[in-house]
């Protein structure tokens, strides 16, 4: 297996994120939640001691970004797992059974698709209270539609394939057909959609944090850092710039990995890309 440039870059970037998250306490030069600069009350500019500056509470921005990778990655990946679980279940059922089951599930999917994800997520989080688990569930609930549509389409075409007909002829019940014959053949698509979708859930999590509906403080999260920096945007733009770049980097990492893989497999468009 030879990786292309996009995939290699994406993979490298994702690995760097994972390493940063895993070894945050070793890499970060300072404690992310303690005031370490004497500039209390005012953000400090980048310097030799604090390469990305310090925030209004005198905390080191670099350390906070490194620790922020933990929450952002964890939420992004876990939310993607929830998204994929919901989407795959609905897609498989709709595509395999067809008929009225398909109709009901797909019309429901269409309705969900028309609702703006961030707005819906905000409303749900506001009702459910922001906690790590609730955020995962909410992000999953608003972003499964793309996965469901793609999985349904693949299931539809797989169910007609001869090897599925053969298993049916042998008397295989529906559950066995889905689990042993259809799911393993949709799996590669699911993995790609998962990788690409992680950038989406990551962004959604950052958006929610920015709006104050993310993981509660003092856990450092990139979205919240941007939000807190808006007050000082004129005097200390680096405060918003660096966490923003971190979000950009993470989203780009997953997109490069996913699209690079698709390009290598000769598919220019993402399965079910809506944007």
């Amino acid at each position: 297996m030879r990786l292309n440039l996009m995939e290699a870059a994406g993979l490298l970037m994702v690995v760097s994120l994972v390493l940063a998250a895993l070894f945050a306490p070793l890499i970060a030069p300072h404690d992310p939640v303690r005031a370490v600069a004497p500039t209390f009350g005012n953000p400090g500019p980048p310097s030799a001691a604090f390469p990305l500056g310090t925030d209004q509470l005198g905390r080191d921005v670099l350390s906070r970004i490194i620790f922020g990778a933990r929450v952002s990655l964890a939420v992004g990946v876990a939310a993607m797992v929830v998204t994929v679980a919901i989407g795959v279940t609905i897609g498989l059922l709709a595509g395999f059974f067809g008929g009225s089951i398909d109709f009901v599930l797909m019309r429901f999917t269409d309705v969900m698709l028309t609702l703006p994800a961030l707005l819906l997520a905000m409303a749900l989080v506001a009702v459910l209270r922001p906690s790590l688990l609730n955020i995962l569930i909410v992000i999953g609930l608003v972003s499964w539609t793309g996965v469901a549509r793609v999985v349904r389409a693949e299931t539809l075409s797989l169910a007609q394939r001869d090897f599925v007909v053969a298993a049916r002829t042998l008397g295989a019940p529906s559950g066995r057909l889905i689990v042993r014959h259809i799911l393993p053949n949709v799996l590669p698509t699911i993995v790609v959609m998962g990788v690409l979708g992680t950038s989406g859930t990551l962004l959604l999590d950052a958006g929610l944090s920015f709006l104050g509906l993310g993981v509660p403080p003092p856990t450092p999260s990139w979205g919240r850092m941007v939000e807190e920096a808006t007050t000082y945007f004129r005097t200390a733009p680096w405060l918003a710039l660096f966490p923003g770049l971190a979000i950009f980097y993470a989203v780009l990492a997953f997109n490069l990995l996913g699209y690079g893989y698709l390009r290598r497999r000769g598919r220019s468009r993402a399965p079910g890309a809506t944007i």
Partner: protein, 330 residues
């Protein structure tokens, strides 16, 4: 509902019809269009025989095969297996009966799950019907592979590691795993090289003898079915137009369409190359088949009656049945 059946009839169909909806036509889409894939087929298949079913693409022969296995529901008509009407069976009984009838596919590439090893592919039927477990199951899988001419080294490999002919053998082993009595062979050699075709046909013949199997052998040219079939049925636009013993079909073809098919077989000897019969034009659409005999627009012998009256498949004294106004059964 059971039907009195001669003891040796294994599969019987009565006025079997399958229509597929293909959209709407006419003003404001008021007319529903259907494709008549199988259009009133009445057919007996005797235990232990090989019935060749020949027709060009789109003649409905694959659909007929799938109707016999009840993989698709007929629009109307009945299918009897050993005198039992498949439509009246419960889901569970139908699943049990599925063991008795299996299907071998045309395309050896799409008929095997690319993500399963050969062991799992062949084991599937054994597991579904709980025929054997553990060591006994393993031995059964090895025996099956041996029966189709594959060694035990095939067990842990994936389908893509095999050639077309080998894959077809795996497909046959999978079908045989549940001890079926009736096999629908849906163009089992059409996708293979000519040299491999003969091997697979020989294998199928050996297996038939060993296991007392009954075959419906579907093919799109008469050349292939010649050596394996006792009787041959010719299908055109969803109907059987001629049915006779294999040697009869080749030595004394009656229906003009059968003659067309026969003259399409390339002849090696130049003296046999003359008097080729060519059909006129293309196969008409099965959505809107011509009135009367559906072959009349292409038939060089068509009379006026052929355009109005649909010929019925009628058997002569010898059992040779033809559906033609011009050349009736001998």
């Amino acid at each position: 509902m059971s039907q009195p059946v001669a003891a040796d009839v294994l599969v019987r169909t009565i006025q079997l019809r399958k229509e597929f909806p293909v959209g709407t036509g006419g003003l404001f889409g008021r007319r529903r269009l259907t494709l008549k894939a199988v259009d009133g087929v009445t057919l007996d298949i005797y235990g232990g025989e090989t019935l060749g079913l020949v027709g060009e693409s789109g003649s409905g022969k694959s659909t007929l095969g799938r109707l016999l296995l009840r993989l698709i529901e007929p629009t109307s008509g009945q299918v009897f297996f050993e005198g039992r009407d498949l439509a009246t069976l419960s889901r569970r009984r139908l699943r049990q009966l599925r063991r008795q009838m299996q299907l071998v596919f045309q395309d050896p590439y799409s008929s095997l799950n690319p993500r399963m090893k050969v062991r799992a592919i062949v084991a599937e039927g054994i597991e579904i019907h709980r025929l054997a477990r553990g060591r006994e199951k393993e031995q059964r899988i090895r025996d099956l592979l041996d029966m189709v001419g594959l060694g035990p080294d095939a067990l842990d490999r994936y389908p893509h590691e095999f050639s077309g002919g080998q894959r077809q053998r795996i497909g046959i082993a999978r079908a045989l795993a549940v001890n079926p009595r009736f096999l629908v062979l849906d163009e089992p050699v059409s996708a293979l090289d000519v040299s491999i075709q003969a091997q697979i046909i020989n294998l199928l013949q050996d297996l038939q003898e060993q296991l007392k199997l009954t075959y419906l052998f579907i093919a799109h040219d008469l050349r292939v079915v010649r050596h394996i079939s006792q009787r041959v049925a010719i299908m055109y636009l969803g109907k059987i137009v001629e049915l006779a013993r294999a040697d009869e079909i080749y030595s004394n073809p009656r229906h003009p369409y059968t003659r067309v098919l026969l003259s399409a077989i390339p002849q090696i000897h130049p003296s046999m190359r003359d008097e080729r019969i060519k059909p006129i034009g293309e196969t008409p659409s099965a959505v809107n088949p011509p009135p009367g005999c559906s072959f009349h627009p292409r038939c060089p012998y068509a009379k006026d009656t052929c355009k109005e009256l649909e010929p019925k498949l009628t058997a002569g004294l010898s059992g040779h049945a033809v559906a033609c106004h011009v050349f009736p059964a001998p």
